[in-house]
Amino acid sequence: MIVPLSHALILAAILFGLGVFCAVARRNLIMIVLGIEIMLNSASIAFVAAALRWQNLEGQTFVLFILAVAATEVSVGLAIIVYAFKRTGSFDPGNYSMLK
């Protein structure tokens, strides 16, 4: 393997941090879901790199499942968000503060 595992892990960690920042700091429901998606993909990168490092296929298998779960996340999440948009006309999470 030409690229050492640590480099791939650093890349994954940077992506993970970007995803967390996007999910926490953005004031738009769609962008928050996008940030979470980036977090899932950073985990995928780490899995693929580790699968190469250990020469077994479990990491690759994991990634296939992550793709499926990410698709579920988008379908359920966007369904809820689009419905919320229809009712309130905004993507701002600050509008949802009735429960307290």
Partner: protein
């Protein structure tokens, strides 16, 4: 391969499919659906009881049946049955959605059963996601759309964030250990537990489970989800979902996290933070379900004490506590459901005059809240006693003292609720409540179980000890 060891899962899968097919091909009928789901759930309890002794592996150990998982499956099936018994009147779920409601309940329970049996990171991940996604939709299903929608959005966002964190933790664990089986991890990880990558990976992985249990940094969803979801769904989240979370955390910590001081320190901090935050925030609550949500957060702190003790006493105490939580929270939510026939949210002041409107429900509420506070002789006291003893055995005196102080704080807000039910007079005279016969029976039995298990806990403790042996073999 021996498929019979997965008999409970196969049964619940078939039951879920049955409701899915119904929702495709038949007109909804609330009463028929309720009776058939009650029948299926009670059969499910029998199936789980019948397969208590089964042991073995399928799918190359990704699915492991042992006494630990089978005991938890009995608890889960019992919890589902009890919750469905409360669903006789579902004002908060539209008639059109009733089949989907039961479909999701059964799917969620199926996923939790797979979760307590999971022996591989992948099976843990997939079953955790399936149960979470069912719950996101169940929470959003509330007819009062503004509440349901807001709770659904918050629950979904926090939940997927937590699963992203968990996934990254799993990737770190895999990249440092090269294995994804919990059994292999129990062999490999103790040698490398002091590497920062491993500790970070372990803590992040547990983050996903802590979300299910509503432990401190991942607790934000709980009050909103409880308040926004319909009463029955909130009851389901407070009982069944917590039992599954306790099981998976106990197993993963027991297998992977032995004898690491850093790791135990992290758990101690989380435990103290979640019980303190839960108890202090609960004092200020006016909404009864929100108060119960914060009390759940506090209880997850107590449960963590049993888990971080990392000794057999602690594990059996944890298992006993899960059972106690099921009984106590169910009884409290039974009263909530019965007091809100239109499915509205109850304020604490709405309880005024309850002891005259329905003495039985008032008694059930009082016993369950005393048990939640940990007053002897109730099942809640025994549970707390067991986990505290386990922590003292390991020398965590300070932790136990902090927990004791928290118990005293929690007594204050539980007593406020009991005062509302017994001493406050309603401003307008309210009609007496007439709970149906099965509900009366259920309230009587669950109250009786809480008290009886406080006096005679030994049979249950013995079951918990037998189940805890499995975690010991893991080392």
């Amino acid at each position: 391969m021996n498929w019979m060891i997965a008999a409970p899962e196969i049964f619940y899968f078939a039951a879920a499919l049955w409701f899915l097919m119904l929702s495709f091909f038949s007109k909804p009928d609330a009463r028929r659906e309720h009776l058939s789901s009650l029948l299926l759930a009670s059969l499910g309890v029998l199936v789980c009881l019948a397969s208590v002794g089964s042991q073995g592996y399928i799918f190359i150990q990704a699915f492991t049946a042992d006494i630990f998982s089978q005991v938890f499956k009995v608890l889960l099936s019992l919890g589902l049955f009890l919750i469905i018994a409360l669903c006789g009147n579902l004002p908060d779920v539209g008639e059109r959605r009733i089949q989907d409601f039961y479909f999701l309940l059964f799917t969620c329970t199926l996923a939790m059963m797979l979760l307590v049996s999971a022996g591989h990171l992948l099976s843990i991940f997939v079953s955790l996601e399936v149960s979470s996604y069912s719950l996101y939709i169940l929470v959003s299903l509330r007819k009062n759309q503004d509440f349901g929608l807001e709770a659904g959005i918050k629950y979904f966002l926090v939940g997927t964030f937590a699963s992203g964190v968990m996934l990254f933790g799993m990737a770190l664990l895999y990249s440092s250990s090269g294995t994804t089986y919990l059994g292999d991890m129990a062999r490999v990880l103790p040698g490398m537990i002091d590497q920062p990558v491993v500790v970070i990976g372990l803590v992040l992985t547990l983050g996903g489970f802590f979300f299910k249990l509503a432990v401190f940094p991942f607790h934000f969803w709980a009050p909103d989800a409880y308040q926004g979801a319909s009463n029955q769904v909130a009851a389901y989240i407070a009982t069944v979902s917590k039992v599954a979370a306790v099981a998976v955390i106990a197993r993963v910590v027991a297998y992977a996290g032995q004898e690491s001081t850093y790791f135990v320190h992290v758990l101690v901090i989380l435990s103290v933070a979640s019980m303190t935050v839960g108890n202090l925030a609960a004092i200020a609550q006016k909404d009864l379900k929100r108060l119960l949500a914060f009390s759940t957060i506090a209880h997850s702190g107590y449960i963590l004490i049993g888990i971080l003790a990392l000794n057999p006493t602690g594990w059996s105490g944890t298992i006993f506590y899960a059972l106690a939580l099921l009984a106590m929270k169910f009884t409290a939510f039974l009263v909530v459901v019965e007091l809100a026939p239109e499915g509205q949210n109850l304020q604490i002041n709405d309880l005024a005059g309850l002891h005259r409107r329905s003495p039985l429900l008032a008694l059930a509420l009082m016993v369950s809240l005393f048990s939640l506070a940990g007053i002897p002789p109730t099942i809640g006291f025994t549970g707390k006693f067991l986990v505290f003893v386990a922590a003292i055995e390991r020398g965590y005196i300070a932790l136990v003292i902090i927990a004791m102080i928290n118990v005293v704080i929690s007594l204050y807000y539980y007593l406020l609720v009991i005062r509302a039910a017994y001493l406050l007079e309603p401003s307008i005279e309210l009609p007496a409540l007439k709970p149906s016969m099965p509900i009366k029976l259920l309230a009587g039995i669950s109250t009786g179980v809480i008290v009886a298990a406080g006096f005679f806990p030994y049979p249950l403790i013995r079951v918990a000890q037998a189940a805890a042996q499995v975690l010991l073999v893991g080392r």
